[in-house]
Amino acid sequence: MTAEIGHFALILAFMVAIVQASVPLLGAARGNAAWIALAPRTAIVQALLVLVAFAALMWGYIISDFSIENVAVNSHTAKPLIYKISGTWGNHEGSLLLWALMLTGFGAAVALTTGALPDDFRARVLAVQAMIGVGFIAFILFTSNPFARLDPAPIQGNGLNPLLQDPGLAIHPPFLYLGYVGFSVAFSFAAAALIEGHVTPAWARWVRPWALAAWGALSIGIGLGSWWAYYELGWGGFWFWDPVENASVMPWIAGTALIHSIISVEKRDTLKRWTILLAVLAFSLSLLGTFIVRSGVLVSVHAFATDPTRGVFILAFLAVAVGGALTLYAWRAPRLLPGSLFAPISREGGLVLNNLIMCTVLATVFVGTLYPLFLDALGGEKISVGPPYFNAIVGKLAIVLAFFMSVGPELSWKRAKLNLVWRAMSVSAVVTLLFLIGLLLWKPETPVMGAVGMAAGVWLLTAVKRDGIFKLLGPKRELAGIFTRLRRLSPGYWGMQTAHGGVAVILFAISAAGAFEIEVLDVMKPGDSRTLGKYEFVFDGIRARAGENYTAIEGGFRVSKDGELVAPLYPQTRTYTSPTMTTTEAAIHPLIFADLFAVVGEPVAEGWTVRLYVKPFISWLWVGIIALAIGAVISMSDRRLRLGLPARRTVAPAKPVGALQPEPAE
């Protein structure tokens, strides 16, 4: 019965979405207030209906209702409860339902929080959001129904792919989707602005928190995916430039460009067309990512549900959504005239440069990912582009970007004086030089690119923190009044500080991990030891282990440094029973400056194959990624971005005279 309720709720949601996509739009065009007022209500109803559908499917998983085909194929009674729940979205149909839930959830959130927007604009935004909903729910209902029944119902399910039975992967898709789908809001706002034919600084203030939320969630989602690949796949890396990984990083890059260029619209009423285009691009790339993963157009190790009919549907949807938005853009763009001009050397100029670099990175990843497809279409052979291509280009661009990131925030709006910037950069130059000298003395064998990458990280971090400290100390460089200045600097500024610091740490960590990694691939007998840098790995032997739904062999290693035990490591090779599959569970002991990493493989005549690594600075990578997301959250908390909340300063003059001296204006 539950499945039928879920299915019915989803069909109703589809109907509601059709109404929401059409009636408010007509209402806004004709000035019919009743039709306009329908938009927020339908948005909330639609979200609740999809929530019912999702809950129904999840309930099917929790009670292991194998009469639902989706549950029978993907679940098993012997699975721990948390993986039964995460199994709801660990498959094609369920993950689409989660996508739809988030999409309608965002729609409802827009409806609930944007009361201060002009009613007709809000109606248009919600109508566009509902159009996306119509497409997605139709996709679920017509090609990927999660509520299909099985008769007779099997007694036991097939089980979830054990690689997906992992806490990291249980929460990775929700965050990724939160990011992907979050960009739908920016897309809807952009489309609504195009329909109305004007983009204002107010528009930028409305969109920015949504873009930041999507970007922050996507950062966490990508980070979790990378973390999962690092410790679960046991391949010893954290990024493989696989098409599916690239599919998730492309909207992230477009989103990064968007959250920067939108500032120009907000502060200076300029770069409007570009910002609109980026808003369309970020969501289009999210859809493209879905297309790549779900259609089998590009062969990838990740693709777990590939089906050409679904591909055709997504492609048609992509054509309507993106093609429609871009047609609208071609029609309306000439009207979007900049409200102000700026010199090449200015904050705006810096943001344009940021956007150019971001788009170059995007194009690099895009071409590398889709190149095999284009080549094939032109009659060439099927090939795939490997990590060396991406690392070579993206790595160098990241270093260029780090330099401009250190300069950008020092530039003033409209026209900047470069001599002030050089003075600010001198601190970074000195610190970086000292770092490089130290590195050369300590480890003269460091590869050049690794050293340059680390230096770029140090440079950027110094520049970011110097700016923050000098801003706190004020123009007179004094400690007095530090708290006043701390309060006066906006959350937007601290958000930038945090996120840019995060980028510096990520850059440093990736470069250092690449430059200093030590790897041993060998056959070891119990009692053997191998030395990796300062660490000695002693192999104690193998024992059998059993978990709730798997058996495992577990290797025991003791790692010591200077004769003192640092950590024991117990890597496993697990054999799951449902479905039968072997997974590698790397044992990782994170230290502040390095991760100790061990994988145990197959038995061979002379012992066991093992892989041992000392991976420096990996923990810093995760810290950097978390900093990105925290930066986004801090920026979102900026009062100026919140609707219906007037800025503090406009309230101050209303105070009774004499009660308090108003703070002097800046």
Partner: protein, 178 residues
């Protein structure tokens, strides 16, 4: 309307065409660069010390034959296995290439589903599989009597593949009629 504002739409249109074309391509029809060439030279041990391994010489015996890449952890291999058994019953020589597996699991897999293979090479470290350019399991190569690769089948061999491609191809290569 200025042409520059149409550029994003035009670029997207081009991309959509390429994606549409990509959809019409069947990923299982991956052309192998090895077609028409001799099998790469290799020598692999068997699943255990007693069993004979597989070498490239075994694939050039004057008779057309199949080389099937399989693994016990591969679900589609289970789907394909009955078709391999049928082929073996018809007298088609099939050799197996066991990829990234453990000998025990592979043996258990064959004990459960039947063993259609004449000889099996154990390639747990992907030494040979890379030379064959294999993207995933299962994959099957049709090899002529001289040891040249004639056809590559990506993915499980279903019954219709047997009838439509594999068997006609073997006939054409001069498989003795049964």
């Amino acid at each position: 309307m200025r042409p520059i504002h149409l550029a994003p739409l035009a670029a997207f249109f081009g991309l959509a065409l390429a994606l549409g074309y990509g959809l019409t391509q069947d990923p299982s029809k991956l052309e192998s660069a090895l077609i028409g060439k001799s099998v790469p030279a290799f020598e692999l041990p068997g699943l255990d010390a007693a069993a004979a391994g597989l070498t490239s010489a075994d694939l050039a015996t004057g008779e057309p034959q199949l080389l099937n890449v399989f693994a016990s952890w591969c679900a589609p291999c289970r789907i394909e296995h009955p078709q391999l058994n049928t082929l073996a019953e018809m007298g088609v020589p099939i050799h197996g290439l066991n990829w990234r597996d453990s000998a025990e699991n592979a043996q258990a897999f064959l004990d459960e589903l039947g063993n259609p293979f004449q000889k099996i090479g154990f390639d747990d470290k992907s030494r040979v599989v890379i030379d064959f350019g294999i993207a995933g399991v299962p994959e099957t190569f049709v090899i002529d009597g001289a040891g040249k690769i004639v056809h590559r089948h990506v993915g499980p061999i279903m019954e219709r593949d047997l009838e439509r491609t594999i068997l006609p191809l073997l006939e054409k290569l001069g498989r003795p009629q049964s």
